[in-house]
């Protein structure tokens, strides 16, 4: 009997380890020959823990599993109370275009055999037969843009590093996925870590870098463990080491762990942290592509950007580019979170409207109350009201509505959300997490909290002051922390003015 049960953090947080134990002990009790594979999550978090059982008809899904549902897995599967049918037929999964996440949930994350059986290493092998300039050109042609949030063309960044002259160059993977509502990096590292390793090796070939770092936040213990094990697997198999796959140049990877500083998701702050310093933002220029880690040319890319390189190299730039809209090419792993009925990861071409994402795919709120707002792009992203739900998902499309797509996380709020409180929280978070280097962020965020409190006390004259402060932060901050905190604040004021009315006076005085 072969059973898959995710090792993914979300599945574990919902009891997957207990289910695994129950399955194992029952199999032992009944003398059943069990193969239990701990896979990545299929991304349907509302169905986690999702068990899959191999049958002649394919993999059958059962979820959300409780320990009480385990014994029935050993009986008539069709009669199981949590039977969902064949996993691949589940409509939520079927409608997706899984390029970057093609293997997540399907394979054993640490099995190289599984990996290559599902197309793994094809991209790297093709890249090994090309010149660095050709690899860079292929990635550029694919239209891939930085999935961490900034949306900078990945190929252009690689080109800069590739053409820079230095004795050492580095590939740094930014896995400091600190934005609330985002978990794509975590899911990929836990569910298909070898894809990230392959992507980094391709970047190494393209740029002439021999060393890579993956900087993972300490809040992701499962991802850290799986990535460390995967690097060891890749080293043993000769994918990493003195010669990539035996006939390429040297490339190796080291896993580093962050220490709870949100600002280290900013690339220059991350580089300082990696060097063993305070995670203080660096002024640009110089660009990290020219003077990055230890002053050497460095590619700093998000997990999803690097993990998309293998499929681009394997299937060709035009295949990847064929998906999407406008200047947003390829697919994007949407992370639907917060107060939502069907939350999880949904990889699809750019271009769906917010309404399709929140209401059709997400099924509206978990509470069953009306959707009030959706914050797109994490703590530094704007709150979108229902009236802007026709906005198509793309970099320029969201920028045009004074928002951003960021790392493609969406937090759904129902009508009980207090947008003044959310604006205050944005400022409070910025104050806690500011690295302190630039004044608009360090002081502005503190003044921002105070000013929101004045509005809460009924002082509507403080609204223009807050607007003014936001403009200062937006144009005067060194990085996106101070520079983008105004997005949630201003969008809350603009789209939900009722929450900022003096009626709050008595409530706040309580």
């Amino acid at each position: 009997m072969k059973v898959w049960l995710p090792l993914d953090s979300a599945a574990v947080a919902l009891g997957a380890d207990e289910i695994a134990e129950a399955i194992q002990s029952l199999a032992a009790q009944r003398g059943v020959d069990l193969t239990l594979v701990r896979n990545g999550s299929r991304g349907m978090v509302w169905l986690e823990p999702l068990a899959e059982v191999e049958t002649p008809q394919g993999r059958m899904a059962f979820g959300p599993m409780t320990p009480e549902d385990v014994p029935a897995l050993f009986g008539d599967l069709a009669a199981h109370p949590k039977a969902l049918g064949r996993t691949e037929d589940l409509p939520w999964l079927k409608a997706q275009t899984r390029l970057t996440f093609a293997r997540v949930g399907l394979t054993d994350p640490l099995s190289l055999q599984d990996y290559t059986a599902h197309g793994g290493l094809e991209g790297l092998k093709r890249a090994l037969g090309m010149t660095p300039a050709e690899v860079v050109a292929e990635v550029t042609e694919s239209g891939l843009r930085g999935r961490g949030g900034a949306g900078f063309p990945t190929g252009i960044k690689w080109k800069t590093v590739s053409e820079a002259k230095a004795d050492r160059k580095y590939i740094v993977c930014n896995a400091d996925e600190g934005d609330s509502a985002t978990f794509a990096d975590r899911m990929l590292m836990e569910g298909d870590p070898l894809t990230l390793i392959e992507g980094m090796a391709i970047a190494g070939l393209a740029c002439g870098a021999t060393k890579g770092f993956v900087y993972i936040r300490s809040e992701y213990p499962v991802a850290i463990r799986i990535m460390q094990e995967a690097v060891a697997v890749a080293q043993r198999a000769g994918i990493l080491g003195t010669s990539v796959l035996g006939h390429g140049p040297a490339f190796d990877i080291e896993i580093r762990v962050g220490a709870g500083a949100y600002v280290c998701g900013e690339e220059t702050s991350l580089l300082n942290s990696l060097e063993g310093k305070r995670g203080i933002v660096r002024a640009k220029p110089p660009l990290p592509a020219l003077e990055g880690f230890l002053g050497k040319p460095t590619v700093v890319n998000n997990v999803i950007s690097l993990a998309s390189a293998p499929v681009i190299m394997a299937k060709g730039a035009s295949h990847y580019k064929g998906f999407g809209l406008g200047r947003s090419r390829g697919t994007i792993p949407l992370q639907i979170a917060g107060n939502v009925r069907y939350g999880g990861l949904y990889e699809i071409a750019f271009g769906l409207t917010l309404d399709q994402i929140v209401n059709d795919i997400g099924g509206g709120t978990a509470s069953g109350r009306p959707v009030k707002a959706v914050q797109v792009g994490g703590p530094l992203g704007a709150y979108f009201p229902a009236s802007l739900f026709d906005t198509p998902f793309g970099y320029e499309e969201f920028a045009g509505k004074d928002g951003l797509i960021g790392h493609a996380g969406l937090t759904v709020f129902d009508d009980s959300a207090d947008m003044l409180e959310m604006a205050r929280f944005a400022m409070e978070f910025c104050a806690i997490e500011s690295c302190g280097k630039c004044t608009p962020c360090r002081i502005g965020a503190v003044r921002g909290v105070e000013t929101v409190d004045r509005i809460a006390r009924g002082d509507s004259a403080a609204i223009p002051l807050l607007t003014d402060l936001c403009n200062t932060m937006k144009s005067g901050s060194l990085c996106a922390l101070g520079g983008f905190t105004p997005y949630p604040v201003m969008s809350a004021i603009t789209h939900f003015p009722d929450d900022f009315q003096p009626r709050r006076f008595e409530e706040a005085a309580e």
Partner: protein, 155 residues
Amino acid sequence: MLDSAQTAERVTEILDRHRGMEGALLPILHAIQEDFGHIPQDALPIIARDLNLSRAEVHGVMSFYHDFRENPTGNHVLKLCRAEACKAMGADDLAAHARRELGIDWHETTRDGKVTLEPVFCLGLCACGPAAMVDGKLVGRVDAAKLSQIVGGLK
């Protein structure tokens, strides 16, 4: 309580393990915290001398990051997510419940030394919030009853 010679010996052993590493200070601090449960003040001058940094620089790095602690925690650490996706699912009420039940505020330890309460900004469990981490174990969809059960189970 450790005497300073024992501390020095263990810190030196950790430093030896990290020799040759590029930008080793964070891995060193993580290793020390894992070994001691916090970063003892006595460790700072030893690290500083070894890495050819000033003690102020090492203190500066240690104090910059939320993870590193100067003092030991209680027997258990309860982390509750305070970020947006969990707030959308009632994390604020849950945090208020936890603070009431434990009788402490954020970053504090109960008087019996049992539980330390820490805020965390995102555990990546944003589609199954509110989320918590109890001594490194992840828990999703935490409500008041589940939280009371968790706290009650801590010895």
